[in-house]
């Protein structure tokens, strides 16, 4: 193998590469969805796959999400590993019954006899100026569904590593791709891709001593930015990137919060009934006596995703995160 210089790639490219490599390694991997073939997907994430592997391996399906996921279930029953693309977050909803009542439950229903190794890729979240239904953060629905893994990469390397892991997993994985990070770039050697990441391990993206920001997906870069800005205020913030909501890495998260004594959960999804409640509750259960302040949450408002011209008011940004950090009862320290 020739050595190739490390060069910048986008998250979209890393995802494409992950599918490509998985398809090359394993003939049972099939990509399917709306416009994934000839067009290469509306975000071009499946670009080139139909050409390289043929239309039977990367298939433009009829336009019906329940049908796509439902036929993927049957394909998985016969030993294939379908990778399904839902064109946008809100367009996964028609497939909800198949996801909840079958994909999540088939292994359990059959006492392990019929696992469904299906990856459901969902471009998700806002910040791209999309019109209605193109910016939903739907992870709360998936988190609340036992039997699914729920993964969201925040870096180019993780996009590759976690998607490989998702496809290799014998369990169904809802793979949430932060739309607005599709074009984020990172130095990453496509010829020597990271080893596959095990699903379920959070990572400390930035170490700090004052408080922990717990986050994932599109909010990770925002939190890192906030952590930089916080230095001015004298706060040294730790940033934990969960990488997967299910399984949840209690260990890494609790260890961080025990160290810092304060935490803010940050996500784009609506606050009420969103992932933050679960995260705050379980951190509190585990770290109560280490906490100097209640775990706070910075989330999207409890409103339908707003139109593009107003989305900046909705999305958790650096200021809102710093405000929350400021409310972590610092006076208690002195």
């Amino acid at each position: 193998m020739t050595t190739v210089a490390v060069k910048p790639a986008t998250m979209a490219q890393a995802l494409t590469r992950a599918m490509r490599d998985a398809m090359a390694d394993d003939p049972t991997v099939h990509v399917m969805g709306e416009d994934v073939g000839t067009l290469g997907g509306v975000f071009r994430v499946t670009d080139g796959l139909a050409k390289e592997f043929g239309e039977d391996r990367c298939t433009d399906t009829p336009l019906a999400e329940a049908g796509i996921l439902g036929t993927a279930v049957g394909m998985a029953m016969y030993g294939l590993r379908p990778v399904v693309e839902m064109q946008f977050d809100a367009f996964a909803y028609p497939a909800f019954e198949q996801l909840i009542s079958h994909v999540a439950r088939m292994r359990n229903r059959t006492r392990g006899k019929m696992p469904l190794p299906i990856t459901v890729r969902v471009p998700y979240g806002g910040g791209i100026g999309g019109v209605e239904h193109h910016s939903d953060s739907s992870e709360a629905y998936y988190m609340a569904t036992p039997g699914l893994h729920v993964v969201a990469p925040a870096t180019v390397a993780d996009a590759y590593g976690l998607l490989r892991a998702a496809i290799a997993s014998d369990d169904p994985v809802v793979f949430l791709e932060p739309k607005r990070l599709y074009w984020s770039k990172d130095s990453w050697n496509p010829e020597d891709p990271q080893t596959v990441e095990p699903i379920g391990r959070a990572v400390v993206r930035r170490s700090g001593r004052s408080a922990t920001l717990i986050t994932y997906g599109p909010s990770v870069p925002v939190c890192l930015e906030a952590a930089e800005a916080a230095r001015e205020e004298g706060w040294d913030l730790e940033v934990v990137d969960l990488r997967s909501l299910v399984p949840f890495d209690d260990e890494t998260v609790a260890a961080s919060v025990r160290r810092t004594g304060r935490a803010v959960v940050v996500h784009e999804s609506g606050g009420f009934g969103g992932p933050g409640g679960e995260i705050a509750a379980r951190v509190t259960e585990r770290c109560f006596h280490h906490l100097e302040a209640p775990v706070l949450r910075v989330a999207g408002f409890d409103i339908p995703y707003p139109p593009p011209m107003l989305e900046r008011h909705h999305l958790p940004g650096v200021d809102r995160i710093l405000d929350a950090v400021g409310r972590l009862q610092w006076e208690a320290e002195s």
Binding site: H30, G74, Y78
Partner: protein, 378 residues
Amino acid sequence: MTVMEQRGAYRPSPPPAWQPRMDPAPLLPDAEPYRVLGTEAAAKADPGLLRRLYAGLVRGRRYNAQATALTKQGRLAVYPSSTGQEACEIAAALALEERDWLFPSYRDTLAAVARGVDPVAALTLLRGDWHTGYDPHEHRVAPLCTPLATQLPHAVGLAHAARLKGDDVVALAMVGDGGTSEGDFHEALNFAAVWQAPVVFLVQNNGFAISVPLAKQTAAPSLAHKAVGYGMPGRLVDGNDAAAVHEVLSDAVRHARAGGGPTLIEAITYRIDAHTNADDATRYRGDSEVDTWRGHDPIALLEHELTERGLLDEAGKQAARDAAEAMAADLRERMNQDPALDPMDLFTHVYAEPTPQLREQRDQLQAELDAESEGPHR
């Protein structure tokens, strides 16, 4: 410059065609359901097949009766009987090769059993023991499916996958008249036709979805007429005529196996019992309707044919009944034993590997159970 000049010369021709011109006539079902028994076609029917069907029907009816009895004895939580529909159930199973797959709905226990699934294992779901009692791969029978029509895309996907692999496997998917109204029915048939997947859809039209009669379910000339809208053939068959159902299904299976694509079959039938033991059918249908259908009983139809042709005598009937009784006795006996369930199994198969969270919960339940078995209840 006029718009015309901009856009090119005027052509008073039809628009370019999107679809190749296709004559819908061959896709349309006949006006009358196809019948064999009591018609001239019966003479051509294979005696061995008719006898196998007969044995299956008698056994199937006995199974339905026994299962219903078990609900009364509290040994079965619920049972959706297919009494009156045995011809569809048994013919569906017999029309398939061993390598084929069956996708049953909750009402199709008989078809599963006729495929080889252990009669007790087939009742596991309805007994409340576990969600599926058998290994789907063993007899190539998917789990009995409760959410209506959701099994249909599974059948399409499996058939498609088999075809991609080069295996000549056919999938047969069963659904009720009510289930045809669900979006999944539509999507499944469309995918099947577009992919030319080797799948056969069998709609058992028993005239009711629980209490809702067909007239509130569809305004179509027949459910089989839906086929043309997907570009597949639709067939209408007398669902109480086991020989006819078997023939139509076998044709469709052969057609699918040969690469001809999917078929939609509507079998006209009737459920003699209530929707389940928990249902009160007198609320929505009269005795006279039930009586009319008792007069078109699938077993009686077949028995008459066999008797007329000298293929069945009293001893043959007795043999079928004895076999059915033996099955029922075995079912009764085994169902009277309490299944041994392990509560820890709740956590075993949620994922290939339990998450840390599930491991904690497992330990919690284990501790509770240990405490329970040690000391008296709080």
